[in-house]
């Protein structure tokens, strides 16, 4: 199946979201891909794009995008919050719905993206929810990024010059700290402790709408949280095929359609 990739900007309040639509003629279903957060976005990018292409080649149209203030999207990261990123999901899901209201839509999130997808799904959006490596809270994703930053800083420090993670957490109470190119605010850190997975999403069902949560292990590098993988093109065929089958059975053959 031929899929066309269309990159573009989607306007939101005070910013433009970078989007890539993997467009399919007469799609069987659609998926909104809500990817990894912050620096994790960059390391997971290749397999994420491969996944989008895989879906499109099998007749599932998908839209991937960058969060406001991250990657190719505009906006000042330091001034943004999880509420803004939730709004991004809702606006794009609504846009996809308007494109073809009769075609079923799945929300699919990776790591922090899984939390944002769950939030939108709990609010009634989407016909199915697919979660990859969903953390319990957003803080579980932020903390390893901070630990990596501290480790890099300490490589150039000796003895008492070395700092602990706790020192950085004290610092963020008074001023933003830079982590892999992003300036984290006190609000981001505090809010990350409260952005969690709704209890109903932990089970493999949420009322009548199908939900699936997949734990990614080391074989799924570099999609995995905190991965420093140097595997260039990991073989994710099994993961892709299994999740494609679930999407098909949930949205197309299993009565998830509208």
């Amino acid at each position: 199946m031929v899929a066309v990739e269309e990159a573009g900007y989607f306007e939101v309040a005070g910013a433009h979201l970078y989007t890539v639509l993997h467009e399919v003629a007469a799609p069987a279903a659609r998926v909104l891909l809500i990817g990894a957060f912050g620096a994790e976005r960059h390391t997971s990018y290749l397999p994420w794009v491969r996944w989008a292409r895989y879906l499109a080649q099998t007749g599932i149209e998908c839209l991937r995008y960058d969060y406001r203030g991250i990657g190719e999207s505009t906006g000042c990261f330091e001034e943004l919050s999880f509420d803004d990123w939730k709004e991004d999901v809702e606006m794009l899901a609504a846009w996809l719905n308007r494109r073809a209201p009769m075609v079923p839509l799945a929300l699919h999130g990776l790591e922090v993206g899984a939390l944002l997808a769950s939030s939108a799904f709990a609010a009634g959006m989407g016909d199915a929810l697919l979660l990859w490596a969903a953390p319990n809270t957003a803080n579980e994703v932020l903390r390893p990024q901070l630990v990596r930053r501290v480790a890099i800083d300490n490589m150039f420090r000796y003895g008492t010059e070395r700092k602990r993670v706790a020192d950085y957490l004290d610092l963020i109470e008074t001023e933003p700290i830079e982590v892999e190119g992003y300036r984290w605010s006190q609000k981001l850190w505090r809010d990350s402790l409260d952005v969690d997975l709704p209890a109903a999403m932990k089970a493999d069902s949420a009322g009548a709408r199908p939900v699936r949560s997949v734990v990614l292990d080391s074989r799924a590098e570099p999609l995995v949280k905190g991965s420093m993988s140097v595997v260039v093109e990991p073989d994710l065929t099994a993961l892709f095929a299994d999740n494609l089958e679930w999407l098909h059975s949930s949205l197309v053959t299993g009565g998830g359609g509208r």
Partner: protein, 314 residues
């Protein structure tokens, strides 16, 4: 969805049967409003490190800064990377070390130079992106200068896991630090006894490209992050000093400048790295590729503009 906003445009370049994607940052002044002598200006094309997509925060920051100074800036995904189509070779880093991306990038440069009526392009690359930039500069007439950020001139070998563990131990523990000093001391001694020759794993085709580029008079700016257990541009004890070697072989007509940016690391992604790269690059661009003799940006003005960028206030 639009492919452009006020300050940027998404562009597709078809090369070798693949659609490659880039982001063009529009210069602060519209080309059509410029005087004829000012119209032909260089663009800056950035290649990210390794397999990273074109939109890391630092890459976006530099592109926006250059565009604000009046230089069109382009962030580019090589075939198979980021959003660009294509397959990544199984041994991707060997492919980079062989200059495998250079022909496609050279073809893309032609397209971009024609599309935006540029006089040429300065290639700016980080780590593996710097290696590809140098190979490309040697075969591309469109490339007029280079900004190389932490380039490497050897062919990386696959590292055993135990070697990574030993490296970590030598950095993080007291006995490891001592063992590291002893080990590198012996390496230094062995290197001196061998007459400080080029290492066996030197990337000879890349060194040839260096000679071609510098002898052609294309200016080169090398930006270095501090290395472990050394200061300034000198490598740590026991390692071959490629930069000293390259400056020796560059020839008398070459203009090679090397700058160290203190307080940053190999990614240059922190505030010190971002600002240091921007300051050195803008000063270098203003010197070698001035936009206009009458309106050359003053250093203070450039600094003020960039400090006003959101997200990077110190």
């Amino acid at each position: 969805m639009n492919t452009f906003i006020e300050s940027r445009e998404l562009i597709a370049v078809d090369v070798g049967g693949n659609r490659l994607w880039a982001t063009y940052h529009k210069p602060c002044r519209d080309l059509s409003n410029l005087a004829p002598d000012e119209k032909n200006r260089v663009g800056i094309l950035f290649l990210n490190s390794g397999l990273l997509p074109r939109a890391s925060p630092s890459a976006v920051y530099w592109a926006e800064s250059f565009a604000r100074c009046g230089y069109p800036a382009i962030r580019f995904d090589l075939p198979g990377l980021g959003d660009s189509q294509g397959d990544i070779p199984e041994k991707a880093f060997d492919f980079v070390s062989d200059g495998g991306y250079a022909p496609d990038l050279a073809a893309a440069l032609k397209n971009i130079v024609n599309r935006y009526e540029l006089s040429g392009v300065v290639l700016m690359g980080l780590c593996a992106g710097a290696v590809t930039s140098l190979f490309t500069a040697a075969i591309s007439a469109e490339c007029q200068g280079l900004i190389l950020m932490d380039p490497y001139f050897h062919v990386p070998q696959e590292r055993l896991k135990i070697r990574d563990e030993l490296s970590r131990w030598s950095v993080l523990s007291g006995p490891g630090l001592f063992a590291g000093h002893v080990y590198h001391g012996f390496r230094h001694l062995a290197r001196v006894l061998r007459g400080n020759k080029l290492p066996k794993n030197a990337n000879l085709p890349l060194l040839r490209s260096w000679r071609q580029v510098t002898s052609a008079g294309k200016p080169v700016l090398v930006l270095k992050a501090p290395s472990l257990k050394t200061r300034g541009i000198k490598p740590r004890a026991g390692e071959f000093d490629y930069l000293a070697y390259l400056q020796r072989v560059a020839g008398s007509g070459a203009d090679v400048r090397v700058r160290v940016i203190e307080g940053t690391n190999h990614s240059f992604a922190d505030t010190a790295g971002c600002q240091g790269v921007r300051e050195h690059s803008e000063r270098w661009l203003n010197h070698f590729f001035p936009l206009s003799t009458q309106t050359e940006p003053q250093e203070a003005t450039v600094m003020e503009r960039a400090m006003a960028l959101p997200g990077l206030r110190s």
